[in-house]
Amino acid sequence: MSQTIIWTIVIIAVLGLVLALVLWFIAEKFKVVEDPRIDEVEKVMPGANCGGCGFAGCRAFADSAVKAENLDNHFCPVGGNDVMQKVAAILGHEVKAKAPQVAVVRCNGTCEARPVVNDYDGAATCRVKAALYSGDTGCSYGCLGCGDCVSACQFGALSMDPATGLPVVDEEKCTACGACVKACPKAIIELRAKGPRGMRMFVSCVNKDKGPSVKKACANACIGCGICFKTCTHDAIVFDSNVAYIDYSKCKLCRECEAFCPTEAIHAVNFPKPLDKDAVKARVNERKKKAAEAAAAAQTTVKEDKQ
């Protein structure tokens, strides 16, 4: 009996030793020599592996960042400036701080504003729906409502609002990784600068059709009237193919365009007070009047000069 036990112990011990040697030998033979900084960089990364930086994951980002000469082409949207500072410290590079961004849904075609005109019966993904036809509402540019962006978001920052049928971004959770932007076949979602204290303005529509047909399709759409373009004194509004777009690098958040938009397609978020439209309109009209008077006066002076 005792002999059996002894033999068992001996055999197991020998077996363990032999296997340990084999493992050690293999580990030595197939050892990959890596820059230790890759591990260090990876450690300070958020570890979400979301691909928002354009690399396959945090490890791939770290690998590329270590090999790169500077960090101009590397930015981790999830970790933001804090993480990039740490990465720069490890690698001895400098980074410029980037303005934090957030995903913005540029469609306000709610169920009421944009009635459903046919009954979609295929696989419930935006991609399939977009490839098939223009969508189940009159608007062929708007949100398809199947939630591809919601399933693309790894941070739980997007959800479908059952009342409007549109996705809603949770600004606290959004890391601006851009997964939703890639997932949306209609290119509705855009990454925009968060703005001071989160205040920002954007046109919540991407419909490029002409006014009348847009109006028919959706009550909340940008009808391409161009009033905002004429109102803006900061040159921040880009007007192209019947739809306005606010350049956030130029926008001064004066909210004048918002006051004039006839369909309320221009959205302003996180402002402390609601907009007093009449006051702004009065202000702008006053300014325009003065400008017109000044122009007229200038003209008369020119005329007088000529005379």
Binding site: V116, N118, D119, Y120, L132
Partner: protein, 324 residues
Amino acid sequence: MSKLLVSPSPHIHADVSTSALMRDVVIALIPAVLVSVVFYGWSELLVLGVSVASCVLLEYLVTRFMMHKPSTIGDLSAVVTGLLLAMNLPSSTPWWIVFIGAVVAICVAKLSFGGLGQNVFNPAIAGRVFLLISFPMQMTTWEAPQGLFGADAISGATPLGQVKEGLLAGTPLSELVNSDYLSMLFTNIGGSAGEISALALLAGFVYLLCRRVIKPHVTLSIWATVALVSLIFSLAAPERFTGPLFNLLTGGMILGSCFMATDYVTSPMSVVGGIVYGIGIGFITMMIRYFGSYPEGMSFAILLMNAVVPLLNMWFHQKKYGRA
């Protein structure tokens, strides 16, 4: 006019559904169920009833209240599992053992993997094997067939069990093998419900083939392998090894090869894969029957080959158009 429907093509669908396929399997099992009830009497009916009822109930409870999903009992797969499990048990099995079998089959083997279509192992066989290991006494006490209202049931061993015990005791094989194959085909041999009537099971199998519910390649490759292996062994050593006909007609061979090995979920997708799978089952069954300590190896063989299926699916593919 209501709103127009819009969907990608195709716009029509074949008249086929999961529940219709499962219903066909249930229909195919009816002859064997009837025969077993007639021959084993009320106790068999009790086993069948408890098994089917507990499988369906468990599936309902787990999907609704643990997985928080719509119940899937409508697809009838739980009924099929319950029937197959019952047909693998002796009619004398107490109801609580049947219930434990159902728990293992539905909760462990099926739903913990994600439900129908996700399970790696055939639920009914997993349940049966669990019971076979846990309750060897109850699971190997077979009643000799008696009429529906028959008096004393005599317990006896299955033909395979007799052979195994006899060989261990040193009895020559020729005295052990009952060569009345005709009676095996009809009924009259000890065993579980699924073993009692090969003919009733084969009728169900033919029904499934005619309705194109299953394809015959898996079953045929099992039979061919069993026949070949037992032929070689019985020719080499007739005093130790039983012959092909005996092996094809005894035990769970027919039930296993026709109804369990052909289960969609746990068998390979491609025809070549299915044939390899069948060969594996046949070979392992025969090895267990000849050399293992259990008299019957069909369940273990199917369970083992179930584990290989993902690999077979990776290795063997459909023949593609325009690609050599």
